[in-house]
Amino acid sequence: MLSLVYILPEIFLFIVATVLLVTGLFLKNIKLINLLTICSLLVTVILILNQPFQSAFLNSFVVDEFSLVLKVMILIGSIASLIMFVSSKDDLNINIYEFPILIIFSTIGMMVMVSANDLLAMFIGLELQSLSLYVLAALNRNSLLSSEAGIKYFILGALSSGLLLFGISYIYGFSGNTNFNLIAVNINPESLGLIIGIVFVLAGLAFKVSAVPFHMWTPDVYQGAPTPITGFFALAPKIAAMGLLVRFLFNSFGEIYIDWQQIIFFISIASMMLAAFAAIAQTNLKRLMAYSSIGHIGYALIGVACFTDEGLRSLLIYLMIYLIMNIAVFAFLLSLKRNDGYFENISDLSGMHKNHPLRTMLIALIMFSLAGIPPLAGFFGKFYIFVAAIKSEMLFLAIIGVVASVISAFYYLRIVKIMYFDEPKEEFDGSSIKSLNLLYYPSSILIIIFFIYPSPVINISEYAIQSII
C-alpha cells in the first residue's frame, strides 16, 4: 500500500484519463477537455517535483533524479503537442476528444518507462506507450496516409516489441532475474545467451528511438500522422526510450559494457550518416524532420556509447536542447496554413520571408541551430557530445559526427535558402496561430539566448545523472 505513494503521479494521470474519457462522452467541448488535460499534466509536473526518491514494488520501479528530469521533459513534450492540437484540430480532421486522453495514456506509459528498473515494468510501460501511439498515428481515419502510417507503425512496432520480448526472455533465462540491479549482480560475462538477449532488446529499443537500421518506419509515420501527433512522436517517446535505454544498459549491463558499446557505436554512426545523406533528397518537410530526428538520435547515442558520466551528461543536455528545437519546428510547421489548408512541402516555404519576416528569421535560426552552428543552442548540444566522445577516446565517433554535421548543414541550409532566396508565394494565415506563438516564441528565444547563460541546463543534467552513475 505504501508503495502506491511512489507512483502517485501516474495514478493521478490515470484517474484523470478515465474521468475525462467518461465525461467526454457527454461533454462535447473538446477544448475544455484539452484544457483540463493540460492542467492535469501541469499538476503532474508539480507532483513529480515533490516526490520522495525511493524505489518501489520490489525495486522494479524507481523514482530518482534521473527519472524526475526525464519525466518533466516528457510532460513538457506532451503539453506542447496538446497545444499544437488545439490550434489545428478543426482543420486536420482530428477533432475527437480521445486525442488528449490517448496522449495521457501514452504519457503514463513513458513515465513508467523512465522509472522502470525491471524488464517487465519496462515492457509494460513500453507497450502502453506504443499502443496509444499506434492509435494516434491513425487518428485521421479519412486520410489514406494517416491510416497507412498507423498500420505500418503498428506492424513494425509489434514486430519490434516481439524482438524485445524475445530478448527479455533470453536475459531472464540466462541471468535468472528480471530486475536490472539483480541482473547486474548475477551477471556472467562469459554467457553468450545474455549477449543475444541484449542484442534483441537493443533492436527493439532502437526501433523506438528510430535509430538506423530500425528507422524505416519513421519517415512514413512522420509524414502520414497529423502534424501535432508527429510533433508528439518527435518529442516525448524519443526521450522516454532514450532514458529506458540508458537505465537498461547502465544499470544491468554496466559490467560488460564492451559488448554493447560496439552496437551503440555502430547504430550511432549509421544514424548520423544515413540521416545526413537521406535528408538531402526530401521534398516533404515532415519527412525531412524525420530524417533530422534520426540524425539527432545518432548524436545522442554517442553520449550513451561513451559509458561515462560525461557522456550521460551530454546526452541529457542534447535531449533537452533537442526537445526545445523540435517544439519550435513543429509549432512552425503547424503555422504553415493558407486558406484552411496545411502545407508540408519544402517548396511551399518559398520566399516566405517577404510576408512573414519575423517568423522566418526565427525559423531560419532554428534551422541553423539544428545544423549545430554557433552561437545557437544546437551547437552546445553537439559540443558537449563531442567533449564526451573525445574524453572517452572515441575520436572516430567525433570525427564522423562533425562530418555528418557538415553534410546535414546542407539540407538545413536548403530550407533557409528556399525561405529567403526564392520567389515569394502567397501569404500564410496568421490569425489562427495565437496558441502556437505560445510555443514558438519562447522556444526560439531560448535557443537564441542559450549561449548567454547555459548553466541551468548543464546543472540539471548533472543533477539527473547522479542517480545513474
Binding site: H353, P374, V387, V402, L413
Partner: protein
C-alpha cells in the same frame, strides 16, 4: 585600467541596435530610411567607442588589456575578452568598415532592408568578438557565428549565382572549421582549459602539436584563403552585394590571419616551424598562380578577389618567418589590405550601381566623366600593387625583408608576385579609366556623389597616412609582436 567593460560594450552595442530595429515594424520607404539611419548611427557610435580604445591603450604594455573575465560554461571555459597590440587594430578596422558598408548600401539595397541591416550588425558583433575573445570556445563561437549573417547577405542580396556561391562559402568554411572544433575540445580535455592566456604558456608535446596544428590550419587555410582552397572566395565575392564583398575582404579574411598569429604559431611553435616550408610553398604558389589568374579575369570583382588571395599569401609568408618584422609586416599587410581591397570593392560598387555590370570590357575612358572617381580608384590601385608611399608598400616590404632573411628562394618568387600585381592592377585601371569614351551607355555616368565621397575620403587618408608614416601603427603592434616572437623562441629552445 578602466573598469568599464568596454570590449563587451563594443560587442553588444550592435545587438542592442538589432533589438531596436526589430521594433520598427512598418515596411514603407520612410521607415526603411529610418532603419538605415539607425543602423548607421549604431555602427558609428561603435566606431567612436573603439577609437577610445586607442587613446586608453597602453603602448608599452605587451600583454592583454581591457581584460574581462567571467565564468561562463564551466570551469576552464570562460567569457574572457582582451586585446593587445595585435588585435586592437583589427577591432578598429572592423568598426570603421561597418559604417562604411552601411553607408555604401544606402542606395543599392532595395528590398528587405531591415533583414539586411540586422545581418550586418550581427556580423559586426561576431567580427569584433573574434578579435577580442581570449577563450577558444568563445572564439569558435564568434568565428563560426559570422557564417550565418554572411550566408544571408550573399544569398539574399547577391547576384545571379548567389545560391551556389553562398552554399559554397558556407559549407567550405564550415567543413574547414569543424576540425578546429575537435582540436579545441581536445585541448580542453588534455589541458582542462581553453583560456588563451594559459595556453600560450602551455607546452604541448610535439606529436600533439602536429595534429592540432593541422586541425587549426584546415580552418584558417580555408578562411584566409590559401591556394588550393581559395575557390570559394572569387565566387562569394562576385555574387555578394558590394558591402558584403567589402566586409568579406576587409575583415572576414583577416580573422584567419589573426588566428594564425594568435593560435597556430602561439600554441604550436614546433609544428609551425616544421610546417613553415610547406606554408611558404603554398603562399608562393598562391601569390604567383592567383596573380596570373587575376590577369585573365573579365570580371572586376573576380580580379580583385584573386588579388586578395595573392595578398593573403604575403601575410602567411610573413607570419611564418617567426620574426618581428615578418609578423608586423603580416599584420600591416592585413590592415592595409583591409582598407585597400575594401575600397577597391567599393570602387567597383560605384560603377556597378550606375551601369549594373562588372564586366571590364563594358567600361573605358571613365576619366573624362568621373575625375574624382578616377583619382580615388588610382590611389587604391597603387596601394594595392604596393607603391611606396601607400599603405600596401609597408606591409609587403616588411614581409619581403623578413622572408629574405629566412629563405632567399621563396623571397625571389614572392617578389615576382609584386611585379605581377603591378601588371594586373595597372592593366585593370587602364581598361576602365583610360582610353577613349566610345561606349554609348557610359556617357550617362556621373561622378561620385557626396555620400560616396564621404565613404572614400577616410579610406584615402588612411591609405596615404599609413604609407607615409607607419610609425604609430608599428608602435602599437611592436610590443605584442615582440612578446609573441620571444615566447616562440623560448618554447622552441
Amino acid at each position: 585600467m578602466s573598469e568599464i567593460p568596454i570590449l563587451s560594450i563594443l560587442i553588444f552595442i550592435p545587438v542592442v541596435g538589432i533589438f531596436f530595429m526589430l521594433l520598427i515594424r512598418n515596411n514603407d520607404d520612410q521607415s526603411s530610411q529610418n532603419l538605415k539611419h539607425t543602423a548607421l548611427w549604431i555602427a558609428f557610435l561603435n566606431f567612436i567607442i573603439s577609437l577610445s580604445l586607442l587613446f586608453s591603450f597602453d603602448l608599452n604594455n605587451p600583454d592583454f588589456q581591457f581584460v574581462e573575465k567571467y565564468a561562463w560554461i564551466e570551469s576552464g571555459i570562460s567569457y574572457h575578452l582582451g586585446i593587445d597590440g595585435v588585435s586592437i587594430l583589427f577591432v578598429i578596422l572592423t568598426t570603421m568598415l561597418v559604417p562604411i558598408c552601411i553607408l555604401a548600401s544606402y542606395e543599392s539595397i532595395k528590398f528587405s532592408v531591415k533583414e539586411y541591416l540586422i545581418s550586418f550588425l550581427a556580423l559586426e558583433t561576431f567580427m569584433i568578438g573574434v578579435f577580442c575573445s581570449l577563450d577558444l570556445v568563445l572564439f569558435y563561437l564568434f568565428f563560426e557565428g559570422g557564417l550565418i549573417p554572411m550566408f544571408l547577405i550573399i544569398g539574399i542580396w547577391g547576384g545571379e549565382r548567389r545560391v551556389y556561391s553562398t552554399f559554397k562559402f558556407f559549407l567550405y568554411t564550415l567543413a574547414g572549421s569543424v576540425f578546429m572544433l575537435l582540436a579545441i575540445i581536445y585541448i580542453f580535455i588534455s589541458t582542462g582549459t581553453t583560456d588563451v592566456e594559459t595556453l600560450l604558456v602551455y607546452n604541448f608535446t610535439t606529436n600533439e602539436q602536429l595534429i592540432l596544428w593541422i586541425a587549426f590550419f584546415t580552418s584558417f587555410m580555408v578562411k584566409i584563403p590559401m591556394w588550393p582552397f581559395h575557390t570559394w572566395l572569387p565566387d562569394a565575392h562576385v555574387e555578394a552585394p558590394t558591402a558584403g564583398s567589402v566586409i568579406l575582404a576587409g575583415v572576414l579574411l583577416k580573422m584567419a590571419g589573426y588566428g594564425f598569429i594568435r593560435f597556430s604559431i602561439g600554441f604550436f611553435p614546433d609544428a609551425s616551424e616544421f610546417f613553415a616550408p610547406f606554408i611558404f610553398s603554398l603562399s608562393v604558389i598562391a601569390i604567383i598562380v592567383t596573380s596570373l589568374i587575376a590577369l585573365v579575369q573579365e570580371d572586376m570583382k573576380k580580379l580583385i578577389a584573386y588579388s586578395s588571395v595573392a595578398h593573403m599569401g604575403f601575410v602567411t609568408l610573413g607570419i611564418f618567418t617567426f620574426t618581428v618584422q615578418g609578423i608586423e609586416g603580416g599584420i600591416i599587410q592585413m590592415i592595409s589590405h583591409g582598407i585597400v581591397s575594401a575600397a577597391l570593392f567599393l570602387c567597383v560598387g560605384v560603377v556597378y550601381d550606375r551601369l549594373h555590370t562588372r564586366e571590364i570590357a563594358r567600361y573605358g575612358g571613365l576619366v573624362s566623366k568621373m575625375p574624382f572617381y578616377s583619382f580615388s580608384f588610382m590611389i587604391f590601385i597603387l596601394a594595392s600593387l604596393g607603391l611606396p608611399g601607400t599603405s600596401g608598400f609597408v606591409g609587403e616590404f616588411l614581409v619581403l625583408l623578413s622572408i629574405f632573411s629566412v629563405n632567399t628562394y621563396f623571397a625571389i618568387f614572392a617578389t615576382t608576385g609584386v611585379v605581377l600585381a603591378a601588371t594586373y592592377s595597372l592593366w585593370l585601371y587602364r581598361r576602365i579609366i583610360f582610353g577613349a569614351l566610345i561606349k554609348d551607355d557610359l556617357s550617362e555616368m556621373f561622378d561620385l556623389t557626396r555620400r560616396e565621397i564621404i565613404i572614400f575620403l577616410p579610406l584615402i587618408i588612411l591609405t596615404i597616412f599609413i604609407g607615409l608614416y607607419p610609425k604609430p601603427i608599428i608602435n602599437i603592434i611592436e610590443p605584442s609582436t615582440e612578446k609573441i616572437v620571444n615566447q616562440i623562441k623560448m618554447k622552441l629552445d
